[in-house]
């Protein structure tokens, strides 16, 4: 690898080894494999954490501490009959779960996951390939991720509308309501940090906060951080806002008629989205990763913290009603977000 001396910022990119198509393919496979595994493991952690907070034991019987419960669940999901109900719109019913899972992983393409590394030379065929930390390093990474996650809500919407079931229709209607409510808050809350950094690239956000904890954007934009977290919970339909499949009200909402692997795909998508939101929150507000030393460990800790926070809040808070969600998003959060953007603008100009 030749060392390129760079004179200005534009040529900085060339300093890194060249990103080849093979590298991106390897990266995509790694993301797919590792995130699906983490998503599966996430269900186990969720049960354990909830059990701990509710003074139960959680899964204990299969394997040590119930660890093999994961495999048991996997076998069950894969071998269950794939039922398509009568009168349902067959094609749309079968496509809907794929939309959720696929968009969740497409969103992860533009997010920095795991450090970059070069495959050692002694590996046959692939030796020396550089694997980047972001599969597709777009200039507008944040917008792309948010847009893709928004497109992911078509999964629940179509699933609910296609299944010829009243609970499903209510779930789909709630999907539309929830989407139209939180989307504005997500965009406006993250706009203020974007104004500070002056870029939509995750790499720029990371570099902006390299000066240590004092440089983190959360200290400059605490309001935006809280708004983004609230909207992120709505985006991943985590508990205070999981209206789409609220068991006590709408049986299982959009997922009522699903079984087996198609049902499982919704949940792989949901957990992948939780990881994506955690990574965005960690990179945009909490300093992200740093290249040297144990920097990559810190971002894993941050992401782990946000994941835990989602479970914690699920154990601590009850659900809200759809009308409460709309009230919260449109009458409380959106005005605060707009004021935050205006104040940020004034402070930056003065």
């Amino acid at each position: 690898m030749e060392v390129v001396t760079y004179t200005n910022v534009e040529t900085f990119v060339q300093h890194l080894p060249e990103v080849t198509a093979v590298g991106v393919w390897i990266k995509a496979l790694i993301i797919l494999a590792v995130i699906s595994a983490i998503a599966g493991f996430g269900t186990f952690i969720e049960r354990k954490v909830l059990a701990f907070m509710q003074r139960r034991l959680g899964p204990m019987h299969v394997g040590p501490y119930g660890l093999l419960q994961l495999i048991a669940d996997g076998i069950k999901l894969f071998t269950k009959e794939d039922i398509v109900p009568q009168n349902a719109n067959r094609l749309i019913f079968m496509v809907a779960p794929i939309i959720t899972a696929a968009t969740a992983f497409i969103a992860l393409a533009a997010v920095p996951v795991f450090p970059d590394f070069t495959i050692p030379q002694w590996v046959p065929v692939l030796g020396g390939t550089f694997v980047p930390s972001i599969a597709a390093d777009l200039n507008i990474g944040i917008l792309f991720v948010l847009g893709m996650m928004a497109a992911g809500l078509y999964g629940p919407l179509l699933a609910g509308m296609a299944q010829a079931n009243k609970w499903g229709i209510i779930g789909a209607a709630r999907t539309a309501v929830q989407f139209l409510s939180y989307e504005v808050v997500t965009g406006l809350s993250i706009l203020a940090p974007i104004m500070l950094v002056g870029s939509l690239s995750f790499v720029d956000f990371n570099n902006y906060q390299q000066g240590g904890i004092a440089d983190w954007i959360i200290w400059k934009q605490p309001v935006a951080f809280i708004l983004f977290l609230i909207a992120g919970f709505a985006e991943t339909n985590r508990t205070p806002f999981d209206l789409l499949e609220h068991e006590a009200e709408v049986v299982s909402g959009y997922a009522t008629e699903y079984s087996g692997m198609r049902w499982g795909m919704f949940f792989i998508g949901e957990y992948a989205n939780m990881i994506t939101i955690s990574i965005i929150a960690a990179v945009v507000f909490l300093g992200g990763y740093s290249e040297e030393g144990i920097g990559w460990l810190t971002i894993i800790l941050k992401v782990g913290f946000f994941f835990f926070l989602m479970l914690w809040i699920r154990a601590a808070w009850p659900h809200v009603r759809p009308d409460q969600l709309m009230w919260l998003c449109w009458k409380v959060l959106m005005p605060i977000a707009v004021i935050n953007v205006v104040v940020t603008g004034i402070v930056m100009m003065v």
């Binding site: 534009e10 009168n87 917008l143 509308m161 789909a172 539309a176 939509l200």
Partner: protein, 189 residues
């Protein structure tokens, strides 16, 4: 090479999807085809290197079609086909003729291609978003502001249309008089 393949793939898919949108009698197929067609159009922007516009296309139309879905959900049974009214032949003739004319113009346009040039080429080293912003706030400032005013007007109109009886809750603590009043209002319509 990849760009050509991607372009033809996206073009074929977009045309097929929008054909389904127009032809299908099932509201669910029509809406889904519309949404996926809109998503695929953003692919063209990505091929052209206009990442920002591509993502904006994605975000805006995903939200807009989602709102359309909610209306479809209220008006139609999504699992059944819709009986369409037969449109008058003269209207079909007029609209078909107009679309044919537009198509001919579109395909004939490249004849005059030397007159087409980028007035605001992208700058090297400056992001897409900045370029769009500069053009939007200098050359196209007036259309931009007019669009903003239009959206404001639409929003106020929406609030006024939906805002009658907004201070009363439809579910809780509704006294009988208010209920009667709402019913008589509905009858009057």
């Amino acid at each position: 090479m990849y760009e050509t393949i991607a372009f033809y793939l996206f073009s074929a898919l977009t045309i097929v999807l929008f054909l389904i949108t127009v032809m299908s009698k099932n509201v669910l197929y029509a809406m889904t085809a519309l949404a996926s067609g809109m998503v695929l159009i953003s692919g063209f922007f990505f091929i052209l290197g206009a990442d920002f516009l591509g993502v904006v296309q994605l975000i805006v139309y995903v939200g807009a079609v989602m709102a359309l879905y909610s209306f479809a959900m209220m008006f139609f049974d999504a699992t059944r086909d819709i009986k369409e009214k037969n449109t008058p032949a003269s209207l079909v003739f007029l609209l078909g003729g107009l679309s044919a004319l537009v198509l001919v113009l579109m395909f004939a346009a490249p004849i005059h291609s030397e007159a087409v040039q980028a007035l605001y080429p992208i700058h090297e080293g400056v992001g897409n978003a900045q370029d769009v912003g500069i053009v939007l706030f200098t050359k196209y400032l007036v259309p931009f502001e007019v669009a903003a005013v239009m959206l404001l007007v639409a929003m106020i109109a929406g609030i006024i249309l939906a805002g009658k009886k907004m201070d009363q809750s439809l579910t809780s603590d509704m006294d009988v008089d208010a209920e009667d009043e709402i019913l008589t209002q509905k009858d009057a319509k």
